[in-house]
Symmetry: D2
Subunit: 347 residues, 4 copies
């Protein structure tokens, strides 16, 4: 069952300890507690810039509320055609925004093509009143293909967005993995490239149920408390979310976790690429490996109790599989999996 997704892991023990530690006594609810009060300043240090930070309990909540802050009832959000917010959140952004729409754009390895984006946005602006008004551009970092956007790629998209008067959003459900992979600072990967608002992922990398919306454009945060309340995301016992997020970033825990997960993915990709009948399909730049497996491999693995998440089957029986590693993935697990693969291959 392991390797299916990074959200099969539990809570990082350090973070669980922080949850336990903050259970003493009573505290003001709804962000009035001392831990919640520290979020803005601690994240400002982390990002080297003034920020507003709002904890939420899921990545979908982060994306939809972040995007609702920059796109209203008849506004258009350019994103990759495979973007989670567009394809896997059942209309959360449309709901929270009161009627925004996504403009899906193609691009290899999960990255929005700059020319295609430029052209699609130009078309949208030409449409005038019969079409939605472009107001936001959203990238996913790590992408849905498990790759990173390079710095220059993001800089070009950010520049395009701002040139057209759009706000620039980053879905950072796996932001830590991208940071660890690119070996840059949080500032280098966000506001220095023009990012206005970030969905800051925690849950896939060690928290229990704590992600956040981080605003670099502080004006976009106006009325965000109302958005949270209206979405059922204004949690009364707010200290428990703040405790998770604070411990997550304390002492580099989040980056250690991400580096580990990334290393496990590389180990896995290496093992996969040595097996006949397996082809790794995208560059492995984070904690995700996509691979095509010949039709007979998947049932062979199943006999060993290994269940895979097959995204699709080809007509020839080839399975397109997504593997995801996490902070909790162990090297011996990867090794054991590789051994199973080898055995299968040697049959």
């Amino acid at each position: 069952m392991f390797l299916r997704s990074d959200n099969i892991a539990g809570v990082d023990p350090h973070i669980l300890a922080a949850i336990n530690a903050c259970n003493e006594g009573s505290a003001e609810p709804y962000g009035g507690d001392p831990l919640s009060a520290k979020l803005d300043s601690e994240f400002a240090v982390l990002f080297g810039a003034p920020v507003r930070v709002f904890p939420v309990t899921s990545g979908t909540a982060a994306n939809s509320l972040a995007l609702a802050a920059v796109a209203g009832p008849f506004d258009l959000i350019a994103c990759h055609a495979a973007a989670h917010a567009f394809g896997n959140e059942c209309g959360a952004t449309e709901t929270m925004s009161g009627g925004a729409r996504f403009l899906p754009i193609a691009g290899g390895d999960g990255r929005m093509d700059v020319d295609a984006t430029t052209s699609a946005l130009a078309n949208a602006q030409r449409a005038g009143a019969s079409g939605y008004r472009p107001t936001a551009l959203s990238v996913t970092q790590l992408t849905e293909a498990g790759t990173t956007y390079g710095i220059e790629h993001l800089r070009a998209l950010g520049a395009l967005a701002h040139e057209l008067g759009l706000r620039f959003h980053m879905d950072g459900a796996r932001f830590a993995n991208a940071l660890a992979s690119l070996q840059v600072t949080p500032a280098d990967l966000t506001w220095r490239l023009g990012v206005d608002v970030l969905s800051f992922g925690g849950t896939k990398n060690g928290t229990m149920c704590a992600d956040a919306v981080v605003f670099f454009d502080l004006t976009a945060a106006a009325n965000f408390e109302r958005r949270l309340k209206r979405a059922g995301q204004a949690l009364s016992k707010s200290r428990f979310l703040a405790a998770q997020l604070l411990r997550y970033i304390e002492g580099g825990l989040w980056l250690r976790n991400a580096r580990h997960a990334n290393a496990m993915a590389l180990q896995l990709a290496d093992a996969l690429s040595r097996v006949a009948g397996v082809r790794v399909t995208h560059p492995v730049q984070g904690n995700i490996v996509f691979a095509e497996l010949a039709g007979d491999i998947i049932p062979a693995l199943a006999q060993h109790g290994i269940r895979l998440r097959v995204k699709s089957f080809r007509e020839d029986g080839t399975g397109f599989v997504r593997f995801v590693t996490s902070f909790a993935t162990q090297s011996v697990e990867i090794a054991a999996f590789a051994e199973h693969l080898d055995q299968r291959a040697s049959l």
Copy 2:
């Protein structure tokens, strides 16, 4: 600061232990874990009836999604004028339902008056196409005034709802306190009275961030997974919500907690009623006490470090104050508070 609300308390230690206990190993996300799989059956035992149970992370999420399941874009939800879902959730229900509206109805001590409800719904139905279509009736138990609805009162409202073809919803943010107060079974207070869907509160009575929507009318639960996803309430690490809810109801913990909180409220009301210049304004039937305090009392208490939640001030300086006790409130705290009040009164 204490006595301000029941959500200033932390997590019940038993529930925190359950959270810790479930952090072993990996588990299927999004409700596929073994704990989540037990929710329906455990709650079915609790309620003595088949149910569908969906964990959420806030009472607002519970209310808005429960109501969205029974009221759509141009539907009307009758509720008390003081209902939290109407007045304190910034449009969560309107958002999740795609455009339902509340029909606020008067009634003493926080309870919807049956005649007023009958009349208002009749008017709404007469309005025809120029008005919203009544499809739901929502009661709050405990009410916003800290009182309970009696069984017969609820039975009458439930019968009225069903006679008119409306679904019957109960906001049970403090359902345990009402149960403990009325000394009836969960079945007696819900589906036996016609309740179709319940917002089942946990957070105010000991969980960290776990409430639930409980459907007795199983047809109303259709597509509820989509509603959760769209609201950002489909949590990946679902086992941690399930663990809280399962421990909450295990061995009667929830009712012990509620009984304690209710007892503390009675002790507090007793202390208040013995002080000159204080008038308890509503029957104390749960863990909430409303009182009017003469204008000089509040600053006097503030000098002792006691901050109260003043709902409003009268022109003569009288303050209308809400006190809320919880599972964590200690009898000695109430006693100390009473002593402060007495001292003030003896000046």
Copy 3:
């Protein structure tokens, strides 16, 4: 059947002639025709100020789109409890705005009480993030009670609105009747009192299906073409709406029609007040008369083929009736009706 409403009348012959006259040849659609091009300038002359004018095909469309321009997804619109936009348009404003809410406010004779409005808005602002954000105040002129707001009353409401940062909207479904009654200029009754946007009624006073949204605050008109399109109100053969509105205001036709309707209402009220068992309940300041009729009168009139619009019946059988006159109401009709009443009274 007559006297039921002003929308039972057909189209003013002058306006029908204008419709016929503009059917020559082809014209650019969607506002690109020469008549549509004249709307802004002709209405600017009428109002003595720069305006943007957008034709729509119903008063509900005008109200909901005008209000959507000044209130978004979690915004609050203060209005009278009897306001048509709140009570009789089945959520049009909520729909077009993406989730605004009305704050109904009491007041005698259909007019929002200034103190009650002040107090309700202060409460709403105090509620903070748990409540909607007040952004607009909407008055109806003529009111739903058939009365006019006086200039000073409106000035006070407008000042209150702007002081609190709210936009000021006027539902002028019967704006012409109010103007005719108050004998002031269009400017005096709108932007000089702080009105930012006006639902300009035409249909009840002689057009076929042409009302308009008139912006005095031109910034509020941003993106209004998208709002029209999205609402299905961007009509392709726009010239036919423009022709109606231009002819409506040409040479004072609209005011002549309104003066006539008002005079008919006064004649009717005079007749009613002379009959035993009839009580006119509100000042008659436009083309609407509200009256209580003793229980035996209504069936007696029905025998003469006169159907009335009874708003409600009292327990003693008294009927509360709304009469509305129009540009097409004839003095002889009123006289005949009065005669019927007298005969009934003489029995």
Copy 4:
């Protein structure tokens, strides 16, 4: 300027006469008038089946309200990628439905490919709760490419829709042109193929501002009066819409108009196809002709005062142009246009 679109025409004289004729006396508003009362029965005769008919004032209103009747807040509507409701109505359907989404599907000559539709819907159903729920399939007849769907093509799409539990909608903005082209009965092209609800176009073929939603699945019409009211489409002087629609279908006027427009398009296509540098790009099966014009032709025509609607320019300067004929297009106009083309070609 002519040939730009069919909505540049005015009102068919017969229909204008009907509007004039119904202006006598007063009539019940909001559909209570005698003409509105005849709509259902007259259209039932036309379609040879029981129907419910609701007039609206634009094609966008018809599409968005028809689709809202079959798709709610998290529902998916499969349509062609070029569908007007998806790409040219600025979110009207999303707004009226409270949050439905379109699933755009490819297909040559403006027609949804059956295999692609099957596959896309299967994918959507597999997505489960993370995706929208497919509930409707919408075709456009004439298509956006000016072609007709053949009977068997529609039958296959209708069968697919019903097999999957979807409702089948037809955007018939140019329904009459398709009927005239295919030479089948209204029944043959709608309910006999499984069409549940039809956007019945009138404005492009002779009415002033009258289209309609026609339900063959009468259960889908539930609450449609509320949808109309909420959309600002419940017109008070309803008789004037009914008069247009009744005259439109009386004595085959609508089909005569469509046949004429189609004939004009064929004459135009014939002229175009004889000119060097012009290529007609889609089969001409209604009143629309798409053509590529060499880069020098468009300015040459402009010198003769002929403005074309160029949809896009290629890099080589070739213009992709849409011509639309109407009931009012005259054969001599086409001939004159052809002559201009010939002259240009002879240079």
